[in-house]
Subunit: 287 residues, 4 copies
Amino acid sequence: MGIVLGPTQYGKAECRLVRIVRDTQRHEIRDLNVSTALRGDFAAAHISGDQSRVLPTDTQKNTVYAFAKSHGVGEPEEFGLLLGRHFVAGTESVESARIAIEEFGWDRIGEHDHSFVRRGQEVRTAVVTVSGSDEWVVSGLADLVVLKSTGSEFAGFLVDEYTTLPETRDRVLATALTVQWRYAHIEVDWAPAYDDVRRLLLRAFAETHSFALQQSLYAMGSAVLEARPEIVEVRLVAPNKHHFAVDLAPFGLDNPGEIFHAADRPYGLIEATVTRDDAPDPGPAWL
Amino acid sequence: MGIVLGPTQYGKAECRLVRIVRDTQRHEIRDLNVSTALRGDFAAAHISGDQSRVLPTDTQKNTVYAFAKSHGVGEPEEFGLLLGRHFVAGTESVESARIAIEEFGWDRIGEHDHSFVRRGQEVRTAVVTVSGSDEWVVSGLADLVVLKSTGSEFAGFLVDEYTTLPETRDRVLATALTVQWRYAHIEVDWAPAYDDVRRLLLRAFAETHSFALQQSLYAMGSAVLEARPEIVEVRLVAPNKHHFAVDLAPFGLDNPGEIFHAADRPYGLIEATVTRDDAPDPGPAWL
Amino acid sequence: MGIVLGPTQYGKAECRLVRIVRDTQRHEIRDLNVSTALRGDFAAAHISGDQSRVLPTDTQKNTVYAFAKSHGVGEPEEFGLLLGRHFVAGTESVESARIAIEEFGWDRIGEHDHSFVRRGQEVRTAVVTVSGSDEWVVSGLADLVVLKSTGSEFAGFLVDEYTTLPETRDRVLATALTVQWRYAHIEVDWAPAYDDVRRLLLRAFAETHSFALQQSLYAMGSAVLEARPEIVEVRLVAPNKHHFAVDLAPFGLDNPGEIFHAADRPYGLIEATVTRDDAPDPGPAWL
Amino acid sequence: MGIVLGPTQYGKAECRLVRIVRDTQRHEIRDLNVSTALRGDFAAAHISGDQSRVLPTDTQKNTVYAFAKSHGVGEPEEFGLLLGRHFVAGTESVESARIAIEEFGWDRIGEHDHSFVRRGQEVRTAVVTVSGSDEWVVSGLADLVVLKSTGSEFAGFLVDEYTTLPETRDRVLATALTVQWRYAHIEVDWAPAYDDVRRLLLRAFAETHSFALQQSLYAMGSAVLEARPEIVEVRLVAPNKHHFAVDLAPFGLDNPGEIFHAADRPYGLIEATVTRDDAPDPGPAWL
């Protein structure tokens, strides 16, 4: 029996990069949170403290900022590919790189050239993995908070000795969606693809008469796969943000689906994957 | 020398109330976080544990939900007045009530009748104080995140032996605004007033060429007072969310206001009040 | 009618200062979060953007770090007094300064000379206000989480038409205490005073058979005033972290105060002040 | 090409369970955050909305609370095994169950029978997976914040064109550890094992002269494997909480490792696995 080093990775997390495009008086802004992680032959650093093959996380941070200037910041997927390729090609000890990016949206204040207001709490995400000449892109969004005030049921479920939940044919359904979708290749026009997936997800959520959050998730994932052939897999994580109808009977009032307490914890947590039956192997795309 | 009880208040904080208006198929939603606080003659509860004059916080919570059904939820200022008046009029030991409300906005998904998406991280606020027949309303907003990519300077400041900051004629100015404004009376059409104040604040932020965040705050407060005669005082709290230009010279790159690191801490914190010189006494409006 | 500037203050918030004392091989550590705020004649900065009387917040931050080296960091109250006096004495436009400090505790790992582990989530606080030659110190603690598993009742309370809460003679009482205490003067041995107040608060919480959280707060505040003549006022803020006994009857189980759900929101919020009847005027100590 | 459902799981997250043991006057307290997740044959729920094989998350929550009464709450690993076995054995559609538990520690206030104070921010964790008759236990801790004020270097690292970091032979090393360790079997005395692993981790952190955080992690993982034969794999995640020495030269002061700014973001993030070379296959233990 011996003790050995297993999988490792290291990098600089949460480089908060703001890129102002000021080629004209009408500025543009890209606001990113960039995390890098490198995998490769770093055993010596762990075992003997030998750093000679370790590119410092500080250098990785510098690279993020320098690339933002020298290459510009386009879509987060593109910027991630740029960075990932650089680390793999430029450093012998790096076998693969994983670049995870969050993008925060800004709207122009009116038609002002250089004044902006944050769009919302929703975040656009991209995770790029580069390993040798292989490249994977997983795009996504997080904290997209949606609610249906009707058109949601929960009934016909399994009942055991610990079940007290009554069936309901009309409830509030609310969640804060985290969705990620994997592309089959990288010949993608990222920005319109993102907008379209977001639109498809919202539409499927809205238009699905829901018998369970599970069903809404499957409908959302399917809608994306049906419309976008370059996407091969969709993963959805959805906390069921329970809205409990308040019992107003003690006060002589009925409550026909009008007054709810929005609870914090516990919450249902539903996770689902919708995929093509011929999807290529994900490799390290999700790691 | 004796030990005495000083000021006290108690109540139920953060009642998460969601009100669905379903009079027609086209639902409306109001999503509130309601906190109640009562002040009055509660010394016995503290000193001897006698609760006979204490209206339980659980009862206050019940009242929030029951009133949402029996009276509906209009604008947060109205709902706060309703609740405040009830507690003061209905309970002999309650001398005054302070109702603080946060409202979270929702947008309809497309034109769907009953599906919604959260609007953003920004929060609308209202603090209502009722004391006997006197009533005060302070409306506000929180977490309105804004940024100017140019049009902001910081120069000509006081220099002492600990000053190292260089002057700048062009910097990024960003903040997360918390603004509250006090009304002289309650004969106000709350929703359009809110929308207008928000618009005025954004416009003043955008259009002010800023020599300091202090100046932007004063311009915002003044713009509100100039346009809305029923508002007599504006209080603004603004963290200066520093965006530091990254030094790219080590990499042979210049950085003419394009690449920034958005820092977390420390941050400047600027607080200002803009008021009318004949503003009525605030009484307990801000307590 | 004119628009005028009201009260303002500005400063650098949350300077995260770690001071290692390495005079001997046995290191000591002080881990602070320092916020400065200056008040004075800064109208020109707001109204015309003239910064000539404004000491930059960046300078204030530099001063915090430089003073930590040149004067050392003793107790937070002392460090706050040092900084406050400096800003008021050294800058003509500064009429008063408010220094707010949080201190995070560390324990030594075993008896190791230079390795430490964070003590807990609890925070020691100090707020120092210097105005000309007047000085006020308010010490405190935040996030001291305590719980009684019995010895707490809630009964005999006021009942109105919205009251549904049953009386209880045995409940869990839990809270996360924020307590601040004002000193009459600054001739205090800060560290033992802090330790003693913390001990007194915990003992009073533990030993009070509680008829309400209000009563526990008053007992805690009184215990401090009785034991420490240099303290003249205690302010306590205590969320009632509700622990609801779970109804296990549907599963054929009783629940004699054993199984609880710890709820998040809403929560009762109790605020109280306990003071001496001859306490000197607080001036700006609490602002 | 067809669209198919991939892996799914669902359950109730963050059941906040407090168990008071009051068999004698000297109460004990266990404070847990329990999350359940079930995997199995739930395709119908997603695809057609048929819930007939779905045990509601509400029922899972009820089970947590009922089991806490009927079986008691021992160590989190035991409670997780109890729950996991129940869901797998009791529900035909459930193929495997994953129970994740956080435990929050409490200390007695003095020697009081029923008054407690929260121990710290550190959290004990357990993740139990039950699949048919196979069972896996992964224990852990989170948010164990540690710091070395010296005895840490970072030098001899790889230098590329984006490297500006100077070498250092003496720096502050600080991190907030998340560590998980996998057991080869479940014949373990969980509480003393936990205490011992925690002690081993702290000692290895303290006693390792660190050439990199990587090395400290490996030393910690190895120390655990060397001492505890029943543990076969240790996974460590450690943000490098950078403490930057402040440049005090502009103020005529040197800074020989005394004054630091504790930064928030970005931070290095180091992840490592230390394992036995003959460790049994983890199966779904980490999923």
